[in-house]
């Protein structure tokens, strides 16, 4: 008797609420997926939850006539390039912040924190003018540079946290073994920090993959990333929801997959600083 009432209480106060929140979180994806496999004909008929004849037509049209494959490629090039650029620029800086005490260290650290908080609208006008003057409008490179406005501060802070967690004794013993200071960093510390490096890298990859505002301003026809391409499919009066939802599913799959692999490391990196405070 008592056990049964405990089970009932658990269902009502734990399992049911969690289930509701999970449904809220994944519901939009489920509906998007269902819509993407619903034939256009059924879209115009009476409302139904499940399509009578599920179809991959929307996906075929997306990659056929609409050339969505090139958008996927553009997104991939931009996100990968931004990740490499961002990590290369910040890896040594984060190591420096985690290991050494130097004058103006606080100033520089705070600078990297604050530049992440400026409204994007504050940066986008001069960046637009800058890309125009450099003659690199509508190129992958323009977006990689623009994205470094958020990849640099973010990667610096997250990597500083990961490097801090590595004991300094390792640096010392590597130097006793005859490695120089830079050698210590490259051959000993970076390999140990690899989980953190990949988590940070994937995080900035995801953010670059998702970005829309810069992409909508700095690129137009030669380069078109997925978010811009989807937004362009939204017509003035008629919206092809079947195609759009299919595009949404395609855009989400790579990042959700990556996220599942690095969840734990990423979350520990993000929360480490905040919890201590």
């Amino acid at each position: 008797m008592k056990r049964r009432s405990k089970l009932l209480r658990n269902i009502l106060t734990l399992h049911l609420p969690v289930l509701l929140i999970v449904l809220f979180a994944v519901g939009p994806y489920v509906w998007t997926f269902i819509s993407s496999v619903t034939p256009q004909k059924e879209m115009d008929m009476e409302f139904r939850y499940l399509p009578e004849h599920a179809t991959m037509d929307n996906y075929a049209r997306l990659f056929g006539n609409l050339n969505f494959g090139t958008n996927v490629k553009d997104s991939f090039i931009v996100a990968l390039g931004s990740t490499i650029l961002g990590m290369t620029l910040t890896l040594t800086a984060s190591y420096s912040f985690s290991r050494f005490n130097f004058r103006f260290k606080q100033f520089f650290l705070i600078q990297f924190l604050v530049i992440n908080m400026f409204p994007i609208v504050l940066l986008i006008i001069p960046l637009f003018v800058m890309m125009k003057n450099l003659g690199i409008m509508d190129t992958h490179f323009a977006l990689m540079i623009a994205y470094s406005t958020f990849t640099i501060p973010f990667a610096t802070w997250m990597m500083t946290g990961f490097f801090r967690a590595i004991p300094r004794e390792l640096d010392e013993s590597a130097q006793i073994d005859g490695l120089g200071r830079f050698g210590t960093f490259v051959r000993v510390i970076v390999p140990i920090a690899l989980p953190g490096v990949s988590a940070t890298g994937i995080y900035i990859f995801i953010n670059s993959w998702n970005e829309f505002i810069y992409a909508s301003i700095l690129t137009s026809s030669a380069v078109r990333t997925i978010p811009v391409s989807l937004q362009n499919m939204v017509g003035e009066y008629q919206i092809a929801w079947g195609l759009l939802t299919a595009g949404g599913v395609v855009a989400a799959i790579p990042i959700l997959t990556m996220f599942f692999f690095i969840q734990k490391t990423m979350i520990s990196g993000m929360t480490a600083g905040a919890v201590k405070g």
Partner: protein, 294 residues
């Protein structure tokens, strides 16, 4: 003891990042500040001239500016409270032990990595006045008699967009609060239970006070992020109907790329930054105090 020579190594290590940040962030911000004192229409390059504070005076007398400010405040307060409430609830539940906790946690985090444009389109589709699943559910369960055009009604548009942003952002609160919950030693709860404290007392006297530092940090971070986010609004409503979903960043964006008035857009962006400066300063002070203790 001889004076220690200045060690350049740490500066060499940070040089690339500092140099790049100066180039793509600091210099552009100064340029924006400069533009805000200019008559800078992109299509009239010859007419560019210094006009002092004229853009700022125009803004203060611009009714759309004040509408946007009001919406920005409603937007921040509304989205943050919604995200906090749901994120906190989810964190408390996920902090308990049950067999499918791992899967539940992974699924709850999904919205947070979803691109803003996808979030906006998914919700726009669900709100649709003809075939929106939200309308269908509300009518089916008797909350509504007829389908309602949520995003094209000036009374409901802003709130509807806020719900979409709540969906995308609440997992961040869950992550941070869960980390905070796990850092509370369980011995505190055990001692309280020995003293006969009930679940509510334990929550009010132990959980909430110990979470306050992390709640403070998270809320400040979110305020900055929510205040700056304009992509979801842009894709869902474009600011409409009328001015009913105009926020300050959106207004600045529209001024720059629809009206091509860079000078005025820069002014609006700077005013937004000035309003946020208070929040940023609070956050920086918090981080500095943490850094010192390390």
């Amino acid at each position: 003891m001889p004076k220690k020579r200045l060690d350049l190594f740490p500066y060499v290590l940070i040089a690339p990042a500092v140099f790049a940040a100066t180039l793509v962030v600091l210099i552009p911000i100064l340029q924006t500040a400069g533009m805000s004192f200019m008559n800078y229409l992109i299509y009239k390059p010859k007419a560019r001239s210094f006009i002092g504070l004229k853009n700022y005076i125009t803004a203060l007398a611009d009714p759309v500016f004040w509408i946007s400010i009001r919406h920005t405040v409603v937007w921040i307060a509304g989205v943050i409270s919604l995200q906090l409430a749901l994120g906190f609830g989810a964190a408390l539940l996920l902090n308990r032990n049950f067999w499918w906790r791992g899967i539940a946690r992974s699924l709850i985090l999904i919205p947070w990595v979803t691109p803003s444009v996808i979030t906006a389109l998914m919700w726009r589709w669900m709100y649709d006045g003809n075939r929106g699943v939200i309308n269908d559910l509300l009518v089916r369960f008797g909350f509504l008699r007829h389908y309602f055009p949520w995003l094209s009604n000036d009374k409901t548009a802003l709130v509807s967009v806020m719900v979409a942003l709540m969906w995308q952002g609440f997992p961040f609160f869950t992550i941070m609060i869960m980390a905070g919950l796990q850092s509370i030693p369980s011995s505190l709860y055990e001692a309280a239970m020995v003293d006969g404290a009930g679940a509510v007392t334990r929550f009010v006297k132990i959980t909430v006070p110990l979470l306050i530092p992390i709640l403070f940090t998270t809320i400040l971070l979110r305020i900055i992020w929510v205040a700056n986010s304009l992509d979801i609004i842009f894709v869902m409503t474009g600011g409409g109907p009328g001015y009913s979903t105009y926020t300050l960043p959106l207004y600045s964006y529209v001024k720059a790329y629809k009206a091509l008035d860079f000078g005025y857009a820069a002014t609006l962006a700077l005013l937004l930054a000035a309003l946020l400066a208070v929040v940023v300063a609070g956050y920086v002070a918090k981080v500095l105090s943490t850094e010192d203790s390390q």
